[in-house]
Assembly symmetry: C2
Homo-oligomer: 215 residues x 2
């Protein structure tokens, strides 16, 4: 069965987004620092239609993640930054224009039903209103022999983590201190998965920490 994996950038003080996110600054104050390591990479730039970029261990690691992913699940906030009914969402078409970088089926967790959106290049956005397990089932079916990735944001990641549904977690640890925002591991008393380190890759300005969730 397709593995469910989470790849997420985290600050050294445990935040996956900065404080006070807005539509203009969806990652919150200082949050863009978490992703700078990725923006510079060839493996990131290419699917986003940008030229050039750094190669090397970070880029290889990202290529590997992209290559092994056959479907993505994301939260509504990650998709558009909005909430509530779609007709009131100023960014209802998502962040990625007509040719999004995914090139596979994306399942968006939402409380508001909506028809599937078919984009160019193989990306589809299917809106799932009956919960995280249903989204996972649909994503596994779409992924075939490949893995399912949690595309973010923090809340969607936490929900799958807390429900014990993740198989692998890869944390891209960035040596910045945000001092506030959204923590990946924020909850007390919830089910806390047992993790086993599988590998550590030292990158440029980021350390990639791979974990397997022990079931």
């Amino acid at each position: 069965m397709a593995k469910l994996k989470l790849d997420i950038s985290m600050s050294l003080d445990g935040y996956v987004a900065g404080p006070e996110p807005t539509l203009e600054d969806p990652l919150g104050a200082g949050g863009e620092q978490l992703h700078e390591w990725a923006f510079a990479l060839k493996a990131f730039r290419e699917p986003h239609g940008l030229e050039g970029g750094d190669e090397g261990p970070d880029s290889e690691l990202m290529e590997e993640a992209i290559r092994s992913t056959g479907a993505t699940i994301m939260g509504r906030k990650m998709f558009s930054g909005g909430s509530g009914p779609w007709e009131d969402d100023p960014n209802a078409d998502g962040w990625w224009g007509n040719d999004p970088p995914f090139k596979h089926a994306v399942f968006v967790l939402t409380h508001h039903p909506r028809e599937t959106v078919v984009k160019e290049g193989g990306t589809t956005f299917t809106f799932v209103t009956d919960g995280i397990e249903s989204a996972l089932e649909k994503a596994r079916e779409a992924a075939g022999d490949l893995d399912v990735a949690i595309g973010g944001g923090a809340e969607a990641a936490q929900q799958y983590l807390d429900a014990g549904l993740l198989d692998e977690v890869q944390i891209h640890l960035v040596p910045v201190l945000l001092g506030g925002g959204v923590r990946l591991f924020g909850k007390t008393g919830g089910g806390r998965p047992k993790l086993e380190s599988t590998r550590v890759v030292e990158g440029g300005g980021v350390t990639h920490l791979g974990y397997r969730v022990v079931k």
Copy 2:
């Protein structure tokens, strides 16, 4: 001038001690998991008068830290687990008996004055009541050409971090989720140092992340 360095074990969710510490369980619930990697090492066991232990990268790293340290600063809680006047502290002699593992001058941050205690093997405990900068000055003098280490606990570490006095931070990241307790990086709005990754060492059940504080 002697460098001020912090070596501290942290859970993946950012805690350096578990919730509800007691005198019997000073590291809080689950907190001992943060230090298991160290307890098994030859470099830890030897100065504690214990035989055997694992050698290898983790032990070498700890040996290196011990060898380069000429003085230690610690908080009162780290020293005895208590607070308030010394005569009311049931553990006023500290945790380590007559021959503590430090073998050098230790400066204990406290609000309650007390004469210096001289132990066997070169360890002295000097009680500093006039603040963290004064303790650092005394420790630097005692360390000579070697470094000064913050021996814990979390509060002392945070105070030096927030005051911008640390030169190096080494985090021993342990893949457990404590779900509560004392965070190393807990404060919002305070001065947040800029860190630069200096090295990553993958150990057994722990990843050692070295950072330099950019001044």
